[in-house]
Amino acid sequence: MHDVWPRIIAHADMDAFYAAVEQMDDPGLRGRPILVGPRSQRGVVLTASYEARPFGVGSAMPMSEARRRCPEALIVPPRFARYQELSEIIMAVFADFSPDVQALSLDEAFLDMSGASHLFGPPSSMGRRIKDAVYAATGGLHVSVGLSGTKYVAKVASAHAKPDGLVVVAPRDACAWLAPMSISRLWGAGPKTQQRLSGLGLETIGDVAAADRTWLHRELGQVGLHFHDLAHARDPRPVSGHRSAKSIGSERTLSADVAGRKDIEMHLRRSADRVARRLRRKHYQAQGVRIKLKTSRFKSLTRQRRLSEPSDVADTLYHATHPLLDELLPFGPFRLVGLAAFDLSRREGPEQPELFDDERRSRDLEKAIDGLLERFGDDTVFRAADLVRDRTLGRQGPSLDFLDDSN
């Protein structure tokens, strides 16, 4: 039976990321033990492939020691630019699943999947879809995914069945699931702390859960309370993304500067169409709209506002820019015009229909056009105004659509 979880948190962790990338890119390395790291004796192993791991080789081990344990391993120097490139692809996949993504490193992230059941199904199918999407987008990399109601349990779960794992721990089962595990699985318990816990007779997470809270506090201080909470699967920390998609925007450098309101509005309208389409595709809504204009002297000006309700309708985003444009118009002419939607959330929860038809009609129309563009390609439907614009302003520079995850 699938019970409703108050929060659904996924932890996704690429399997032997650097080694897997090297094996994917070079078929000659597949199925063989490899160590990614510098060839020098003094370096450390960054990642060992799964073929090397049975020899007792792991990350952060001195290269000399690793070569002694696994002499047949091939040493592959790291290619960080390539890992970065794939990391961006992976994070973009995560962003398709949730507006709240917290990246922990190049190859590991938390995703807040709460309220997404109607999009991706129950937690197990969410995990399956994340894994499939990462595999498809990267061209063959596996990710292990853990899902539970807290960040801590999700992280333990993703590590539990590596490689290519998928582990779902229902919140109400989490405490019992953790109980038999070693205290080394407690978040924040290093070798020294583990020794202290052992010294207190605590060997498993279940032991910690059963221990008296005030006693733990007395013996270990604040961290004792922290371990007690973790052992009870209590971890209220939210997924706080530095890397979550903060805004979706579209901007365009023009072949000729524009100064007139009508000309600028045409570009804003087009940006609004693109941005709203991308919002809908990701099942996002935005509650903020920002315009960006770059003057002919290369000074960037932005103005933004909040909407009274979140929207994914181009018409609404576009009309929201009117008072913003009023403020910036005197600073023209402009060489770049852009619009971004921010304060993103998932389109979820009950729907409050409109009393008047306008917004519903706009959304229905835009959704119908989405369908046409998807079936027949990007240039099959456009606004009549765009025809005029192309005639009067000539060819445009390339448009830059962006997903801003910089802060």
Partner: protein, 368 residues
Amino acid sequence: MKFTTDRETLLSAVQLVTGVVERRQTLPVLGNLLVIVDDEGVSLTGTDLEVELVARVTEGVQVERTGEATIPARKLADIWRSLPENAQVAVEAEGDRAIVRSGRSRFSLATLPVADFPRVESAPGDIEFSIAQLDLRRLLDQTGFSMAQQDVRYFLNGLLLEVSSEHIRTVATDGHRLAMCTLNKGVAGADRVQVIVPRKGVVELGRLLRDGDDPVYITLGKNHLRASQGGYTLTTKLVDGRFPEYDKVIPADSQNALIGDREELKQAFYRASILSNEKYRGVRLSLEREQITIQANNPEQEEAEEIVAVEYNGSPMEIGFNVSYLQDVLNVLDTETVRLSINDANSSALIEGPGADDSVYVVMPMRL
């Protein structure tokens, strides 16, 4: 300029006029009150360029020297309010300072040039009429809560005032619910004139009105509405836009109507709302013979259920609402009972207070 008066004479004038002044201004002088002293008395003016309020006080003011100055509004209001009761106060402008003296207190405030103070131009009105303050107050109170706030559809961020030879009517909507109140006293010669008064103008106008039969004089111009009452004159710009055709969304009365005790329903909705989702505020109503069940739940899986006995003979049905919209209506109605008329779970519902036929409320259901 120089005048003396006592604290109470100018207290409400200083406070009401300062109410119009925005906390953050685009021009520094908009943070000031314009004080004009002539032979008969004192005029105080505050403005934010959209709404201007002038208070004119002649009784209880001793003019020593006529003249004009602009004085920081909030500081003046704070000083004035915190002076002892019935204190005698002298106000004087000297160079770029305004001096306020009372007993052993003395304040020297920085002024700004009077010439910089923007005035709303006083174009002649097209329609003039008077209305009892309590009537206008009711028109505003029964509907104002439904105005939108900072909606992209800027024409919803205000109140429609419709004047015809048969009635004076107010309508407000935020796109999800609508409130309409009609006073069946028309203005001779008015041919269904519609203006949209911006939110702030509505709020400030409401502050000026008292619960009495004394009239307030209204002038409607092309771009402005002016209201005068006692010594106060409020001028507000109008929203330039087309208000939606409100009569098209007011549903016809349905056979599926329930009548219940207003106070009892209000209390039940309030209690249920405590456990509704804070963001969406959804509640589910199950209508059955002679009773209504109100259910709410939140993301923490907490649940509320309220059963209220009502008169209902329609077919059983379930319908969802944003509970805040229902609560707002139950709060402004002053009738013993309330009548909720529903066609189906996807169409707007009509709410009325039997016996108070002047007000009509429409609420769009929510799909839960």
